[in-house]
C-alpha cells in the first residue's frame, strides 16, 4: 500500500505486513499465501478455484484493515491506495480463478449464477463502506452525481451504438449474404473504417459534424455538433459496423451447403430458408459479432471523454490532466468491470443459442 500526504504527490510504500497491527494483518496474509499454495496442484481445478477465492478474500481483508489503520492521524488530505504488490496479486489470483473455471467448464446456467454471485458480493462490499477509506472511493464520494451521470452516458454510448450498428448492420449483412458483388465492395470499405486509429476517428468527427451543424438547417436542433455526445456516438457506430456485418455474413454462410440445398429442394422460399435454417444455424456467430462490438465499444467509449462525449472517460482524462491516479482509476475500473461482465453475459447467450446437436456432439 502507499500512503500520500494528498492526492497529487507520489505516495510512499508500506509493506503488507506493516499496514496495521500484526494481529489484524496475519489472517489476511495467511489467506493469500494459502490461496496461492492451493492454486499449485494442476489437476484439481476445484481446489484451485477455492484457493483463488480464499486468496482474494485475504487481499480484501488486508485492504479493509490497512486503509483505516494507515489513515489514522495522517492528516485530512492523506490518501491510501493499493500499490503494485496488490495489483500483481490480484492479477495472479484472477488468472488462477479464470484458469480453474476454464478447466471446470461449468454450463451456461451455472456461469450465470456464479457471475450473479460475484456481482452481488462486490455490490455488498462497496455498499457496506468497508472500502470507503480507500482513495478511489474518496474520489467517488466527492463525485457521486457526476459518477452516476457518467455511468449512464457510458452505457448509452456503448449499448446505443451497438443497437444502432445492429439495426443497420443486419440488413446490410443480409444483402451482402445474398449478393456476392455487394459483399465484395462493402466489406473492404468497412475494414478500412476499422483501421482508422480511434483518436483520429474521434478527431475527424469534429470538423465534419461541425460543418454539418453550421450549414444544414435544423441539424443543431437534433443535437448535432462538432463535439459532445453525437460525434462520439457516430464514431462508435462506424467502428461497430464491420464486426456486425462481417459476422452476419459469416453466420448466414455457416449452414452446411447440403442443408441449404435440401431446404431449396423441399420447396422453402428464400425467406423460409433464412428463418428456419440460415438464421438459427448462424445465430451463435452473429451474437459473437455483437459481443466483440459491445466489449470494444465499452473500451472505446472512454476516448469519447476527450471530445466531451461524457462517460467514464471524463474521469480518466481529468485524472490525466491533474496527474491524479485515483481519478483515472475511478474511470478505468468500472469500465473494465463493465467490459468483463458484458463479455461473460454475451458468452453465455452465445452458448445458449448454439443448436443442441453441436452442443452435445
Amino acid at each position: 500500500m502507499t500512503i500520500a500526504a494528498n492526492r497529487i504527490v507520489a505516495g510512499e510504500g508500506v509493506p503488507a505486513w506493516a499496514v496495521a497491527a500484526p494481529a489484524l494483518v496475519a489472517p489476511g496474509l495467511a489467506a493469500v499465501v494459502l490461496g496461492l499454495l492451493l492454486g499449485l496442484p494442476l489437476h484439481w481445478p476445484r481446489l484451485r478455484l477455492l484457493g483463488a477465492v480464499i486468496g482474494l478474500g485475504g487481499l480484501l481483508w488486508l485492504l479493509m484493515q490497512g486503509a483505516p489503520a494507515l489513515l489514522e492521524g495522517a492528516g485530512d488530505y492523506a490518501r491510501v491506495s493499493p500499490a503494485i504488490g496488490f495489483w500483481c496479486l490480484l492479477t495472479i489470483l484472477m488468472l488462477l480463478m479464470a484458469d480453474a473455471l476454464a478447466q471446470l467448464a461449468p454450463g451456461p446456467v451455472m456461469r450465470g449464477a456464479m457471475l450473479g454471485g460475484v456481482l452481488a458480493t462486490l455490490a455488498l462490499i462497496l455498499w457496506s463502506g468497508a472500502l470507503a477509506p480507500l482513495s478511489v472511493m474518496q474520489e467517488f464520494s466527492s463525485r457521486r452525481a457526476a459518477f452516476a451521470d457518467a455511468a449512464l452516458r457510458h452505457l448509452a454510448l456503448a449499448f446505443g451504438s451497438l443497437a444502432t450498428a445492429a439495426v443497420i448492420g443486419f440488413p446490410v449483412g443480409l444483402l451482402c449474404h445474398r449478393n456476392q458483388r455487394l459483399r465484395g465492395s462493402v466489406l473492404p470499405v468497412l475494414s478500412f473504417l476499422q483501421t482508422i486509429p480511434s483518436l483520429a476517428m474521434f478527431g475527424l468527427m469534429i470538423p465534419i459534424l461541425g460543418w454539418i451543424a453550421l450549414n444544414v438547417p435544423g441539424a443543431r436542433a437534433f443535437g448535432i455538433a462538432g463535439i459532445g455526445f453525437t460525434p462520439a456516438f457516430l464514431a462508435l457506430v462506424l467502428y461497430s459496423l464491420l464486426p456486425v456485418v462481417a459476422n452476419t455474413v459469416a453466420g448466414l454462410a455457416a449452414a452446411p451447403p447440403t442443408a441449404i440445398e435440401a431446404a431449396r429442394g423441399m420447396g422453402m422460399t428464400p425467406n423460409q430458408r433464412l428463418l428456419r435454417v440460415e438464421l438459427p444455424l448462424g445465430l451463435p456467430i452473429i451474437l459473437t459479432g455483437l459481443r466483440i462490438v459491445l466489449v470494444q465499444n465499452i473500451g472505446l467509449a472512454v476516448i469519447a471523454g476527450l471530445i466531451g462525449g461524457g462517460g467514464f472517460g471524463t474521469f480518466v482524462f481529468q485524472g490525466l490532466n491533474q496527474t491524479a491516479t485515483d481519478l483515472i482509476l475511478l474511470g478505468a475500473l468500472p469500465t473494465v468491470a463493465l467490459a468483463l461482465v458484458s463479455a461473460i453475459v454475451m458468452d453465455i447467450l452465445v452458448e445458449l443459442t448454439r443448436p443442441d446437436a453441436t452442443r452435445t456432439a
Binding site: 447440403t258 440445398e261 435440401a262 431449396r264 429442394g265 420447396g267 423460409q272 443448436p355 453441436t358
Partner: protein
C-alpha cells in the same frame, strides 16, 4: 409420368447434359447410372427446377414444370439430396416433418406420419424421434434423409445417390426397403447412382449417362445382355455379366418338381442366390418354398443352362 424432352444444360460453355430425352412411367423406378461427372445430378435437378435447363422442357403428368412456381413445384416432388442434407439444428422428427409443415398439415397428422416412417425404416420412433442428426450413424442419417423425402407422400420422388454412404450389407437392405415401399405406395422414382449393380437391382428401367448424353435407356436385362455401347458394356463389366443376369431371374422360372437336401430358398429369390447357396454348401440342387410350403427344387444344371442362354 415424367417426360424429359430434349433437355440441355450448359455451364459456361461446358455441356453438362446434352439433349436428353426419356420418359419415366408412373409407378416405376428409373435409375440413372453413369460415372462421376456424367451429368446425372444435373439431369435430376432439372426435373424439380433446382437447375433451370438451358433448353428443353420437363412435363409431369402432361403438365410443363414451367407452369408452376419452382418452390410450389418442389413441395410436390420428394427430393433426397446427395449426402442426406439433414438440418443439424432440428431433431429427427422435425427433419422428417419439414415438408408436411411447409404444406401446413395439422400437428397430430405430422407426428403420426413421422412415427409411421421411422417404423417403416426400422428405426424405433421412441428411441429416434428426438435425436439430432449428429447423434445418428451414417446409415441412419441417410434413412432419415430418404424418410424426409417421402414424408408428404409425393407421387414423384427424386433421389441422388441415397445409399452412397452405406456399407454393402445395409445397402442391400435399404434397397429392398425402398423397393418394398415403392411397390406399396405406387410412387414414381428417379434415382441416381454410379453403381451399375444398384441400377440393375433396383431399376424397372435403367438410363446410362456418358459425358452428358443418354447412351442407353432400357430394362435392366437388356442393359446386361445387349449393352448399346462399349461404355455400357464396361459399366456392366464382362466378367460379371452371367452373374448379373442370374440375379435378374427368379427361382420360379427354372423350378422343377422334386426335392433336394438342405435349407430351402423362397421362390422369389434369384438364381444368383441359389447358385451361391449351391456353391457354398456343396449341393447340386436347392429346395424351393413358397409361403413356407415346399414348392419344388432348382438344380445347378438348370442354373448353368439359363446362364448360357443369356450369354
Amino acid at each position: 409420368m415424367i417426360e424429359i424432352d430434349r433437355i440441355t444444360k450448359v455451364y459456361n460453355g461446358v455441356t453438362a447434359v446434352d439433349a436428353v430425352t426419356m420418359t419415366a412411367e408412373s409407378g416405376t423406378i428409373t435409375v440413372i447410372v453413369g460415372t462421376s461427372g456424367s451429368g446425372k445430378t444435373t439431369l435430376l435437378r432439372m426435373i424439380n427446377r433446382l437447375e433451370e435447363p438451358t433448353s428443353g422442357e420437363v412435363r409431369i403428368n402432361g403438365e410443363s414444370t414451367l407452369a408452376t412456381k419452382p418452390h410450389l413445384l418442389r413441395r410436390r416432388i420428394g427430393y433426397a439430396i446427395q449426402g442426406h442434407g439433414l438440418f443439424p439444428h432440428h431433431s429427427v422428427a422435425r427433419n422428417i416433418g419439414a415438408v408436411p409443415r411447409l404444406l401446413n398439415w395439422p400437428k397430430e397428422k405430422i407426428s403420426a406420419r413421422v412415427d409411421e416412417l421411422l417404423t417403416l425404416f426400422s428405426m424405433e420412433p421412441d428411441q429416434f424421434r428426438d435425436r439430432f442428426p449428429a447423434e445418428l450413424s451414417g446409415g441412419q442419417q441417410q434413412r432419415v434423409g430418404v424418410a424426409r423425402a417421402l414424408a408428404s407422400r409425393p407421387d414423384v420422388l427424386l433421389m441422388d445417390e441415397p445409399f452412397g454412404a452405406l456399407d454393402p450389407i445395409i445397402r442391400a437392405r435399404a434397397q429392398d426397403d425402398l423397393r418394398r415401399i415403392q411397390r406399396a405406395l405406387g410412387s414414381t422414382i428417379v434415382l441416381v447412382t454410379h453403381d451399375m449393380e444398384e441400377a440393375i437391382r433396383l431399376g424397372d428401367m435403367v438410363a446410362v449417362m456418358d459425358g452428358g448424353q443418354l447412351v442407353q435407356h432400357a430394362p435392366p436385362a437388356e442393359i446386361v445382355t445387349k449393352p448399346a455401347t462399349g461404355f455400357v458394356a464396361d459399366m456392366v463389366g464382362d466378367m460379371e455379366r452371367p452373374l448379373r443376369l442370374l440375379s435378374l431371374v427368379p427361382l420360379s422360372e427354372v423350378m422343377e418338381d422334386g426335392d433336394a437336401p438342405g435349407e430351402a430358398l423362397p421362390a422369389d429369390s434369384s438364381l444368383r442366390d441359389a447358385l451361391s447357396a449351391c456353391l457354398w454348401t456343396g449341393r447340386t440342387a436347392v429346395p424351393v418354398e413358397r409361403d413356407g410350403l415346399p414348392a419344388g427344387r432348382v438344380t445347378l444344371d438348370a442354373i448353368r443352362a439359363r446362364a448360357e442362354l443369356g450369354a
